[in-house]
Symmetry: C2
Subunit: 608 residues, 2 copies
């Protein structure tokens, strides 16, 4: 039953040899890997205006130079991630780059920050998309959390089906969103050029504004830079591309950069010309769309695709998180289960972990994840800065052909990212301080896990020169609870093992019963020695453990092993289990975990 539900949800299992078919072409890769970055256009420009409005509406013209700054940063990031893709064609992005050039600790900071960040991406973007939908249908507003969870489950299932299937389905809304914004921007620019937009709607560029400061401009710049989160995803996901993977990834990255620059500057420009004021109730994009088209089909088309892309931005996390987790698991910093490919050849454990963690975040913040955005942005810019700095060191060290140009690009990116990071701390400390706690915590967890794996590795390594001393013989203990077929079955098995000694052990709660049982036993199994243990506290485990300890002590002297043979009822139906005390399960677990004793389970399958 369970397995057929699984089949229905995620499809038939794939053979390992079918891995090649699970790779992405450029069109699909652009759709799944850039949805996060592109969706930022829906809120990035707004963030700039929200900062500027604290000085006054007249300051809005500053959004133009600030947007220019963001575009320069975008160009630097795209160029430098392009260099990363070619330098590290096996993926891993900021984690691998920082680890190899700056050292393990910085690698772990980058990796940890990105890992948490992808969880935040999913929670934040699905919540934002759900908000956009429920504000269109107010009746659904009370069910925000439930709806967001359903979306997360849907995206998780889709990704468990495999990245290509997810990409085939998700490509449509992404391209529709790009198309919608493209039409909006063209129509808007046409209106501006044909002077349909009154000049008094906006202050001319260059108007001097009282109260503007460098700090405020940097703050606006940092806020606007939150539109660049998601740019790093492609560098993490190179293994998902069709061959030649690095080339395809670099081209996809360039296409994404171009689209992002186009949409971002278009929205900033239109917002400026239309004199849009940010507003709690209606987003900037929605205001622009209404100004341009009125409330007709195009308006709703833009609103609908925006809501969809916000939700699908989550998908970028689903592609990048499992691959980053594999890199961390390969280096033994996180549990090795993240390395296992599931039925559909995706790294299912990573996908499921991401889904569950973001559902927990959504539940914990009751679907109100907006104030996580700065935390999320700073979590992106820290690995950005580290990886750019790492690349600088790489060029300085290796000095390949044309390294000065490469160094310049990465230095530019590194400085701007560093400034953005610092601005986040200076201007939004109240929201970003948790980073200062969780980054050291996560690095501590990573190194603790690695320490454990290393210790286990040492304990398991075989000393080739001195093979283990062979076992001399066995003592077998069979706990018996009565004279039944189950006991007969286990005793027969114990006798067949050729052990030096087979002992039946009976725990009694009552002297009378003890004597009776001994008599019956003598008649039934005269050749098997029976030991009876009287338990005055009605515990079976305690006297048995004590007996096993004594036996083990004696056996140890001559390198014998002690085996406890325990019968276990296997009931025909699941609910039957509550009708049997299953003390055998308790005994097994206790002896296995608390004592170093071998446990043999002889199943007895009930037929009725």
């Amino acid at each position: 039953m369970v397995s057929s539900v699984k089949r229905f949800l995620i499809g038939r299992p794939l053979k390992s040899t079918e891995l090649g078919e699970q790779k992405l072409n450029k069109t699909k890769a652009l759709a799944v890997l850039s949805s996060d970055a592109l969706s930022s256009v829906a809120y990035g420009p707004e963030q700039i205006l929200i900062v500027l409005i604290t000085v006054g509406v007249a300051a809005f013209w500053y959004s133009i130079p600030i947007a220019l700054g963001v575009l320069i940063l975008l160009a630097a990031l795209i160029l430098s991630y392009r260099q990363i893709i070619y330098a590290y064609p096996h993926g891993g992005g900021a984690y691998v780059v920082s680890k190899e050039n700056l050292g393990e600790k910085y690698g772990l900071i980058s990796g940890g920050a990105l890992l948490v960040d992808y969880i935040l991406t999913v929670a934040v973007s699905v919540s934002a998309g759900t908000d956009a939908i429920t504000s269109a249908f107010p009746a659904l507003h009370d069910h925000n959390v439930g709806i967001a969870i359903i979306f997360v489950l849907l995206i998780t299932t889709l990704n468990l089906r495999g990245v290509t299937e997810a990409a085939s389905i998700l490509a449509y809304p992404v391209y529709l969103f790009v198309l919608a914004l493209f039409i909006l921007i063209c129509t808007g620019i046409y209106n501006v050029l044909t002077h349909q937009v009154p000049a008094e709607w906006h202050t001319p560029v260059g108007t001097p504004i009282a109260g503007i400061s460098l700090f405020l401009l940097l703050k606006a710049f940092a806020s606007g830079s939150s539109a660049l989160t998601g740019v790093e995803a492609i560098s993490n996901a190179i293994p998902n591309f069709k061959d030649p993977a690095p080339n395809n990834a670099a081209k996809t990255l360039a296409a994404m950069g171009g689209l992002l620059a186009l949409l971002f500057s278009g929205i900033v420009l239109l917002a400026y010309y239309y004199g849009i004021t940010p507003n709690d109730k209606v987003t900037v994009v929605s205001q622009i769309a209404e100004q341009t088209f009125g409330r007709n089909f195009m308006y709703f088309f833009i609103q609908g695709t925006t809501a969809l892309i916000l939700i699908l931005a989550a998908n970028t996390g689903y592609t990048a998180f499992p691959l980053l987790a594999v890199n961390l698991a390969n280096d033994k910093f996180i549990p090795r289960m993240f390395k296992i490919r599931g039925d559909r050849l995706g790294y299912s454990n990573g996908i499921i972990t991401l889904g569950l963690a973001s559902i927990l975040l959504i539940i914990f913040f009751k679907g109100k994840t907006e104030h996580l955005i700065p935390l999320y942005a700073v979590g992106v810019f820290i690995p950005f800065t580290l990886s750019q700095t790492g690349m600088m060191l790489k060029w300085l060290r290796e000095q390949p052909k044309g390294w000065r140009k490469k160094l310049f690009i990465n230095t530019l990116g590194s400085v701007i990212c560093f400034v953005v990071t610092i601005m986040f701390f200076l201007t939004k400390f109240a929201q970003v301080w948790p980073v200062l706690l969780f980054l050291p915590a996560i690095v501590f967890v990573f190194t603790t896990i690695k320490k454990h794996y290393t210790a286990v590795g040492e304990q398991l390594r075989i000393a080739v020169d001195k093979p283990a001393v062979p076992i001399e013989g066995n003592v077998i203990i069979v706990p018996v609870a009565g004279i039944t077929k189950v006991v007969e079955n286990s005793l027969n098995y114990a006798k067949s093992l050729g052990a030096e000694q087979v002992l039946a052990v009976y725990v009694s709660f009552d002297r009378e019963d003890e004597r009776e049982f001994e008599e019956k036993w003598k008649k039934w199994q005269p050749n098997v020695r029976l030991v009876t243990l009287y338990s005055q506290y009605r515990s079976i485990i305690q006297p048995l453990t004590k007996f096993v300890d004594t036996a083990q002590h004696k056996a140890g002297e001559s390198n014998y092993r002690v085996t406890v043979v325990i019968p276990q009822f296997i009931t025909k139906k699941g609910w039957h289990n509550i009708l049997h005390n299953q003390s055998s399960l308790l005994i097994k677990a206790y002896l296995l975990y608390k004592r170093n004793v071998i446990i043999t389970t002889v199943p007895y399958h009930l037929k009725k």
Copy 2:
């Protein structure tokens, strides 16, 4: 850690021989076993007035003859349960009496009704007591459910400590309640006799009232009879009494009957003389107390002890439920775990089940369990009727000395109980109909469980004349995941068992890896045959199961057994487990439950 918390909560374990010290003397038994019945005084008289007020305040004088009717029923019940105690000195009450005299089906109806009823008792009385407390402290009102659950947990813990300890603590509030009501009644009667209560406050007895009908009077009588729930508890709990148990139980029953009659008639009389009108906000007892004392210390003393006794009424359920469960479990109608005595010699599984079930009820009904009262009352009167009828048949059949008198008492009780039951169905069908569903359901569950136990018993019975064929030999399969100490350890053990064949099995996901492993193996263990299985769907369990099936098929031909020897990591710390995939646990569970194969677990305790 867990075990020291347990020690702190419920105390040190007791030896089986200390059972005698866990018996109750009459004073304590009266306190724990009559709290349910006595607490009914707090709402029983009110129920009568609530029915009469539908005709008018003038009809209140009818409460006097109705109370007389209730007293007659009480006398009949006390006398007939006294007879049951002597006839069935091992306890079991209505279940045993109905089963032995009317047949198994009626026994199960009685037993099932009482079992569910004790759960209802706990939920209803704790909710009612919590309501009484939170109406005194309105700030707590929003936390009703939480507070009620805490009370249930407290009473559960107290009962897990053992019945005598519970009794020692709970006796005080019970006797304080009796004292408080006794002072109230005496003062009230004194006021009435000294003519401090104006005659116009009540209509004289015998005033003709328009609109009164036999149906209404019977309905009022049935409602008032809800004060008699809990009367049967002593007959279920005879084994908890000090020797001579039946005598002591009979005396306690008589004392309880006397107290109940006294308090019940006192409250009815005072309510009549004071002309109390039932009211949603203030209970009848509270109104009487305020009339008598004003809002002084005595008023709050009465209110406080009433709230307490409502909560402690739950304790009667805790004493009777586990003993009834033991009786049912002895007859194999419910899981045998209910027969196990816990550390403190109480039937802990019964106590814990009762606690959990009532917490679920409280959560499900959000602490508003008032409308469960009629359901609960009818659930009591059905077994009352059945046990009285059973006793009638017993006397008719056995005709011992003085049987006519005994027959008369039980016939009277049976008829009245039957009438009360019918009245509940006629007047409160909307609330009591679930009984008609859950009684057949519970009887079905009981008989299904018995059927399973009988079937298992037959399957386990040894045929003495034809002993099982001895096992000829063993084939041992050791799944190996690499060349490590864990594998070495398991192989050494497997070799020591003197089996006909030891096979190492390696599941590979990759042809290259498979070849490499085979080469390494040949160098390391040239004498152990290695079988490699290529798994194209990356499953370990499937190819392994298939291999085991083949081996078992071959082995079966010559009465060999197949044993799978599986190493299991035992990590030093609990959290380490998530760092290891523990595929061995999955393999073990799968083979054990899905195949009839013997599983030997060789633990490997990690030291770091």
